[in-house]
């Protein structure tokens, strides 16, 4: 188990490095610069500006400088928000995004697995068809449609929940964004876990369990569910990526001061360091969660462990 963990950790480092390298050179080789949209200044001043931000150095040198900064936890200064460093912006935005993302993830797994298992036990009943129909709707309707609809119906017409902003950061303000972010993932996970649950419920060891007189509850929770969870666990990686990218849109719709909204705006502004900061943070987050998923996989499925 430990060698497995260390090997996975060691392989995470080059992955992160590749992410940083691709993002860095892609951003820098693109036409345009961070000061394009500002007042035209005499060449001496713009040369000075470039020198302050080290933009006059050759690219590989800038890359090394950036890596050096990263190693010290310094993401560099923002080009657009002049009074802040990127580290400060991330420190302010990331906890908000993380909170919403984790809540959405938890909701997706709990609701998704619950609904999927519930539907599987009632295969081809009205309840099953209803859950699967809802799941199909959840997959087919993008969350940038769900979000405004929810805020219109629940927020404006029914006036139950606030439609935007973070307020005091309480549950009431988080509910709508979390629901809209989680919904497509709930749908995917429900479908996945229904499928694998059906397969497992037909397996011999479940019949054995029933035959030896275990209660249905024990059969389902202790034996079936644990084995049916494997495909769900391997979907958690892509689910994280989907929630992270979804948050870009959801934060924009609900006006949440998270990290996602910096990304597109930063890219349009050619705010090199800010975009890099967001990519690095999210890249590291996705890698970390994939690592957790791999470990969970090892816990659920002993064959994965012994193979190493």
């Amino acid at each position: 188990m430990w060698t497995y963990l260390i090997r996975r950790l060691a392989s995470a480092v080059p992955t992160l490095f590749i992410i940083i390298a691709i993002a860095f050179f892609m951003i820098r080789l693109a036409p345009g610069g961070p000061f394009d949209r500002e007042r035209v200044v005499p060449p001496e001043i713009s040369a000075n500006l470039n020198r302050v931000y080290h933009l006059d150095e050759p690219l590989p040198r800038q890359f090394l400088r950036y890596l050096g900064g990263l190693a010290r936890g310094d993401f560099g200064p923002s080009f657009k928000y002049r009074d802040f460093t990127v580290t400060e912006l991330i420190a302010a935005g990331f906890p908000v995004s993380l909170k919403i993302g984790l809540l959405a993830m938890a909701a997706a797994v709990l609701l998704g697995v619950g609904l999927g298992a519930w539907a599987a036990q009632r295969r081809n009943s009205a309840a099953d068809h209803m859950v699967m129909g809802l799941a199909m709707t959840g997959i087919a309707v993008p969350n940038f449609v769900v979000a405004p609809l929810l805020s219109l119906v629940i927020g404006v017409y029914l006036n139950l929940l606030p439609v935007g902003g973070l307020g005091d950061g309480g549950v009431r303000h988080l509910l709508l964004p979390v629901i809209s972010l989680a919904l497509p993932q709930v749908a995917y996970i429900a479908r996945l876990s229904r499928g694998s649950m059906l397969e497992v419920l037909n397996a011999d060891f479940i019949r054995t369990g029933r035959a030896k007189g275990l209660t249905e509850r024990r059969v389902v929770f202790r034996h079936a569910l644990k084995n049916a969870l494997t495909p769900v666990v391997s979907y958690l990686g892509p689910a994280t990526a989907a929630i992270v990218t979804g948050s870009v849109v959801i934060e924009q719709i609900f006006g949440i001061p998270g990290l996602g909204r910096y990304f597109v705006q930063g890219a349009l502004n050619r705010d090199y360091t800010l975009v890099m900061g967001v990519v690095v943070t999210y890249g590291a987050l996705i890698i970390a969660l994939n690592l957790v998923v791999d470990l969970l996989y090892g816990v659920l499925d002993p064959r994965v462990r012994s193979r190493e």
Binding site: I27, A30, A241, V248
Partner: protein
Amino acid sequence: MTEAATVTRGRPAVAAAGRSPWRDAAMHLRRNRAAMAGLTTLCVLAVLSVAVPLLSPYAIDEIFWDAIGTGPSLAGGHPFGTDANGRDLFLRTLYAGRISLSVGLAASVVSVMVGVFWGTVSGYAGGTADSLMMRFVDILYALPFMFFVILLMVYFGRHVVLIFVAIGMVEWLDMARIVRGETLSLKRREFVEAARAMGAPPAWIVLRHVIPNVIGPVAVFATLTVPRAILFESFLSFLGLGIQEPMTSWGVLISEGATQMETQPWALVFPATFLAATLFSLNFLGDGLRDALDPKQR
């Protein structure tokens, strides 16, 4: 019963004309009502969006100054109403279908080609080549890909072809994994062994024996890739990075509609219905295909 069993197990008799697995699958698909409804809906949508210039006398960017933001009415000549700029929404929704459907199709074609090539080569070659190629897929899998596509769109312009390619390049990873898994198990089957024993070169075996046998799972997965590509394009368009005016896609129309849904709900409802109908149909068709091609599911 026993008679029939011996007949099928032995050489195909004249009476029991053999049904090929493909015919068998096609029959099962035809019997699946949800899948057939999906297929029909898709065909209708595709024909409508291709034939839209014949159906409507207006141009896509024609502005009706006397009908700005009016609701749907057949008598007024705008069955889906007009948008906030006074453009006919029926027309725009169907033109948008052209882009959305072709994004889905093109991205799936790219992902099938790259994925099948990568998967079969990796699976059939095995050994170091296999582990290197799969490691590459693993690394790409961990990248926040959507971010790179967004960067690509921001920096290198918003050309339609770029959108096709970018989305296809994201979607081939799953395909490569599935194909590799299938190839690994096919490699050990007798007919592949026989071909090898007769001295067939690897490229021939892959082309003639492996690829035809992975078509089933690939077809299923491709139908599920199309909706993902369409959603991806609408996501990009929602952020303002997708298709540019005057061309439009369902994602663009939906994001425009979402901003005015209180005053002009029809601008959201019609494109969203078309998008949802397409995605539903593709999912039903994909499920139907999977059931039809996988004898275990019956």
